[in-house]
Symmetry: C2
């Protein structure tokens, strides 16, 4: 087993965080902004110093390449350097700089891989400036049309195409090149590893997600003159619906997740019975079939409550994203690496979206999670320990070496 | 028992509705607008034709007076002529024109009352243009300072004072004159009389109202990465709170009313656990002591749910309006009138605000309700039957005659 230099990786993470620093110790590098450009330039300089060659594709994805002994398809590591408006130092950055640290370590040890290695910096992963999130990896893998992505504008009406020109990241490299495999190291963005005191999560895939839009209609009436039995109060109906949705999560525990994040009462007034209420429902499960069951149950239960109360309900599916199982061979490469290193770990399913979810439909893919303090991300207080950062990169190094094949000089 | 001319009253109501007509058969006469001015002019012309003299006080309340045999304090009838932006033909207008019909009937029958009679048109009862509602009666009775009311502006920044000047309704008559009694006829604005098939409600008073502002705080976290047992979901907590509030209404049935009209999730997002939620609670009961019990129970139950779930809760009282019992002698005058006429009736408590609620703190007061279709008001579809309109004015006539004393020539 090989190991990286933890201090060097940590110093690179801290140096990158100096670009677009926020008051409370986080980073602000919106996609294709001047700060994002500076972050990419810093990274590019490091890659050149490590003997790598750089290229950019038409959606601004940046690739640093270290040749292999053969001209096979590359084994790719990576993630993203853009952040939320008040983001942290690790989300995305860790996956990119862990890849750089892998290359630096190979250079230190005069290791040449059989297959070429690349580090990918995907454009606009956060979705904070341009919608959708994971835009660069979606375009690269053919999950989003290039022209549509280029025409997407931020809130000031500036398009992705203009921002690429402006920052000098409108490249020419073809999209959708063949990759041998893709490995992404990332903070968990959840509390599971920290709670269980484990430094490594072997990510087996991404969970399935179903978003529903629900509209409940009652009858608006005067809060002071309408006897309770005469009311068709949409909000009291929704109170009961929230109760049954919470118990739905129990019925599908621990893999099922249920969240109502938005709720709006139209023309609301303190002394008018709520009659026109919309809310969102976010259902998640590791398995597609179980998620379908959850959706079916949710629809049945909500419709029953509405009917009992004389309310009208309309349920529309807003979005469905199937589960994304990662490649067994790549997952196994990660597991063998962590076991070989003797680090404690558990299998885990990714709850958040990642570039790796798009890549998994393009090439064999796996991810490595490390804990983050309190499960926090998208937050200036996002934090990971130097120890966990080091161990995650050790796992990445050995998984990549196994996949790429290598010779020590 | 005397009776009014139903057709004449109905024709007056329909003629008034022609000022500021809306597409769907309602009326639009915002307080102190040009339409409101025209409505007041139409009414004033009718009063002058009926031999009455007009005066206006400093907040624009309009009074039409019919002398009595003595110079005693007047027995006053009235309500308001302003409407909601898309209001109906009866809310307020009925109480004013029923008063006019009473005077017309006395003229027809050569009846002179012992005490003088007046009809009051209160300014800005609806509160749709200027806040608060019932502004004119509040100023008249000393429940709101004149200067504060005059300085109140509508959404375009036009003040009450400017609007009074503009419409010519800035009068000089002193506020707070002594009234012998005040009688207001009004549509119920609720469904009780219609449901029970009764033409008359003898209103015994106004209910007590308590408005609470409630703020529940949980922890914002990612909907995809946070296991259910780790969550502090404010909205699921509120789901349980809505359930207990609904059962609170059962515990205080049928006099207790419970309404949550507004609910807002700060920084809401479909895939973020709701952490910062505010909602309003409107509690009502006929009796002050019972309302205090309801408030106490609500606070206890909500706090218990918050504590069990590790949520923070803050409950602030926004407003408390005690119950307003009407004057027993005046209520009895109404009851004797309706019984003398042989009309079916029930005692009822007013659920909505009325000018009479302010007047009750100034002089002996009572109200008469008639049914309105489907309990609807503040709505172009507001409707009352000619029959009910007639019977309500008959009751007003006889109650006023009893209170004022009279001689037939």
């Amino acid at each position: 087993m090989h190991t990286i230099k933890g201090e060097r990786l940590w110093d690179s993470l801290m140096a990158m965080a100096e670009i677009g620093p926020t008051e409370r110790g986080g980073s602000s590098r919106l996609a294709l902004s001047e700060e994002d450009r500076q972050g990419r330039e810093l990274f590019s300089g490091w890659c050149e110093a490590a003997g790598m060659t750089l290229s950019v594709d038409r959606i601004g994805n940046l690739f640093a390449r270290r040749p292999g002994r053969t001209d096979a398809a590359p084994v790719v590591m990576g993630s993203h350097l853009d952040t939320q408006p008040k983001g942290g130092r690790f989300d995305g950055i860790y996956g990119v700089l862990a890849g750089l640290e892998v290359v630096r370590t190979l250079n230190d040890n005069d290791i040449q891989t059989d297959k070429p290695l690349e580090i990918a910096v995907w454009t606009n992963e956060e979705g904070a400036r341009f919608t959708p999130a994971m835009l660069g990896s979606a375009v690269f893998t053919g999950n989003l049309e290039l022209d549509k992505a280029l025409a997407t504008c931020d809130r000031d009406g500036v398009s992705v195409a203009e921002s690429l020109d402006h920052t000098g990241y409108a490249g020419e490299q073809p999209l959708g090149r063949t990759f041998d495999a893709y490995f992404e190291a990332h903070i968990e963005q959840g509390p599971i590893l920290e709670d269980e005191g484990l430094p490594i999560g072997v990510v087996t895939g991404g969970q399935a997600i179903c978003w529903l839009d629900i509209h409940v209609t009652g009858v608006a009436a005067h809060a002071g003159t309408t006897p309770m039995p005469k009311r068709k109060d949409a909000l009291f109906g929704i109170g009961q619906m929230l109760g049954t949705l919470e118990s739905l999560a129990d019925d599908f525990a621990p893999k099922g997740l249920v969240t109502v994040g938005q709720l709006d009462i139209a023309r609301s007034s303190r002394n008018t019975i709520a009659a026109d209420v919309r809310f969102t429902l976010d259902l998640r499960h590791h398995e597609d079939a179980a998620l379908a069951d959850m959706e079916h149950e949710a629809r049945e239960r909500l419709a029953r409550i509405a009917e009992e109360r004389g309310l009208t309900i309309d349920i529309q599916r807003h979005w469905l994203s199937p589960a994304t199982p990662f490649d067994p061979a790549c997952v196994n490469a990660v597991r063998e690496a962590v076991e070989g290193l003797g680090y404690p770990y558990r299998d885990i399913v990714s709850g958040a979206g990642h570039d790796a979810i798009h890549l998994a439909r393009h090439c064999p893919t796996a991810m490595i999670f490390i804990p983050c303090a309190d499960g926090l991300s998208h937050n200036e207080a996002e934090s990971a320990t130097p120890e966990d950062v080091r161990m995650g990169a050790d796992v990445l190094l050995n998984a990549v070496l196994q996949r790429a094949g290598y010779q020590e000089k």
